[in-house]
Symmetry: C2
Subunit: 445 residues, 2 copies
Amino acid sequence: MKALLRIPSISTLPEHAGDVRRAAQFVADELKRIGMENVRLIETAATDHPGGHPLVYADWLKAGSGATTVLCYGHYDVQPAEPLDEWKSPPFEPTERDGNLYARGAVDDKGQMWMHVKALESLFAANGGRLPVNIRVIVEGEEEVGGEGIARFVREHGDQLKADVAVVSDTEMFAPDLPTLCVGLRGMIYTEIEVRGARTDLHSGMYGGAAPNPFVALAQIISKLKDADGRILVPGFYDKVAKPTVDELKAWKALPFDEEHFRQAEVGSCELTGEPGYSVLERIWARPTLDVHGMPGGFIGSGAKTVIPAKALAKVSMRLVPDQIPVETFGAYKAYVESIVPKGVEADVRLIHSGDPIVISTDNPYVKSATEVMREVFGKETVFVRGGGSIPIVGDFVRELKTPTLLMGFGLPDDNLHAPNEKFHLANFHRGIESLIRFFSNVGA
Amino acid sequence: MKALLRIPSISTLPEHAGDVRRAAQFVADELKRIGMENVRLIETAATDHPGGHPLVYADWLKAGSGATTVLCYGHYDVQPAEPLDEWKSPPFEPTERDGNLYARGAVDDKGQMWMHVKALESLFAANGGRLPVNIRVIVEGEEEVGGEGIARFVREHGDQLKADVAVVSDTEMFAPDLPTLCVGLRGMIYTEIEVRGARTDLHSGMYGGAAPNPFVALAQIISKLKDADGRILVPGFYDKVAKPTVDELKAWKALPFDEEHFRQAEVGSCELTGEPGYSVLERIWARPTLDVHGMPGGFIGSGAKTVIPAKALAKVSMRLVPDQIPVETFGAYKAYVESIVPKGVEADVRLIHSGDPIVISTDNPYVKSATEVMREVFGKETVFVRGGGSIPIVGDFVRELKTPTLLMGFGLPDDNLHAPNEKFHLANFHRGIESLIRFFSNVGA
């Protein structure tokens, strides 16, 4: 796994395209080595998807025609590692400390995807080169940039991923030692707002007072996206938001969740924010949100430069919940932003990528099987939670392939996903492998 | 001059400190070469001013004890050159095109300072190594970062700069071929607002809806600094703003100024902005303003990163006009910003540097002399204007040294100061030298 973590397969940065491909090849080679068959890279680049990263596919379908088929999904791409100076060990030099493995991708998702590889390797070894179940493996390299390639593959060649159940290990446990299935994910739309004022950068002494300032304009726009309480002001934004069921809300209230601990230990801010009238878990699992990730442009060096920048950009994303529809929500947002552009500037609103929100039914034998094997490994009953993040492909598995999907993840809440010092608790890596071995055997029996 | 323009003496960037010193030494060597005496670098670095850049001093005081003494001021430091990709020729490779010399510092202020050097060189050559007037030259390397070093030198050793009149060529002509004296300058305060939310960068999927977003908070703060019309909302901000005199306003109305041409040719935005009820010239010369120069922090790469940044910064400056007092205005601004910090985040408001606004009396013989020589060179009457930018030291010359100061600049409105493709119109470079030769001769007569 460390060799894979050393490859900086940052899918959003074009200069790392070679590393992304190297990671794909590495995964393919390992799948072949452990005994998987029909191993191949599937190219996703197309004229309308330039720079697409390859999928890795493998299968082993010799358990018999009546046997259960499991589709294992993971992704080998990672988020950028910035800010680099906050990492205690280099992001692409996996380092063990205190029972954790630190690296970008340690838990999201190279490390968790590797549990599947290791579980299959064990089963091949224990069963004389055979598996107790039919297995398909699909590993993508664009999860962190919207997963367009795999979405198209599922639409166009979904039959090649035909399975009875899909297993995705790209989520976290609710608390240490508490086995968890995630049964809902927020979707998202990731956008850019570009605001242009003057033709070129201007001296603020000579033009200040007459030339439009795109950062001020952008700040005015952003300040009208959310009210002081965090309620999103895009008209119609909440119209299709479905409430969680009464049972679900009751179960969430029973979870071992300490808001003050969450604020202090995880967030570390002086106060939590968000919509009044909703618990923290509701706010991060079942309510849509809007965040600004950065505002490129202008002068960002140290010291002082008295420039009125010609343009300013804001990277703005919204997390969506069932039953919001990304393309619809983006349309409403774009129209709203265009309606509040201050005088003197022009604005472009662009959709960078999107993913559907989903809720997954728990009413199937695979959920039962998963909770059984995790009870054996962890000694505790599984809790059902939702996730605040997106795994775009899960919606496609559920909707396009009609495949029941288990989000069976073994990360921890403090694993620093997408942040400096991402880690994977090694005990969970091993318990994850053990759970998967038992699950594959159990559904194959 | 080209050799000097090749030195990237960017005073705000610590990594260019060596270049800044190299530029100072270059200027000193040239002053010595043309015949100036007592040439020396004056260090400004001090424990409370680390990284201070040297002053260059030279004089020639042999015109006789009753002769007039002129203090020539300029600066050899420059603004950063970003955004580099918008330069048609490299910023530190001076390039002639269409009668202009393009380079960072071409007009602000290396090129204009060089007019003084060339005028003095001509006079030395024409007068057998003598000048018709006593001259002191002071050239600083911190004008673009607030001029703290020279301000202190003026306070502590002002007698060493004793003169009857100071000549500063760091401004522009109102229009091509129209000789111009600038008789007012806006002051400024340059500030940073730092907003901190979570302890570390967080995944917006996992924490969005509960964790504070510092960019959203900063946008909310900025949106409350100015109203939609551009009126600054800091309480008391306009209390000490002095109106221009009736005569001054009348003279400005008579200037050849076409607002639509200014919008199209200089600014290039779809509309001009600023306070209603004031002409464009009033807004850029006699009204205070507030601009945001950039908002460092967060994710600024291409593509998508779903991070809630731990902190965000805004570089915010205000241009001040007589009789606003920078330290007072900063105090009011800081208190106001602190009063509007949204929940969940903490904010620091820092003053980076400041400069006093000034108006200069036109009631002295040197103004008369300057208008005469420029009439000879340009064939037109001089117009009196104000400048929207700051030259911090001018306030010190006027207030501390009680020296009448002529802002006799030969730049043009489209010279792209502080912006890509800064240039100096070479015809003006030569007419500037000619005007200075005549002025030095005239006041020495």
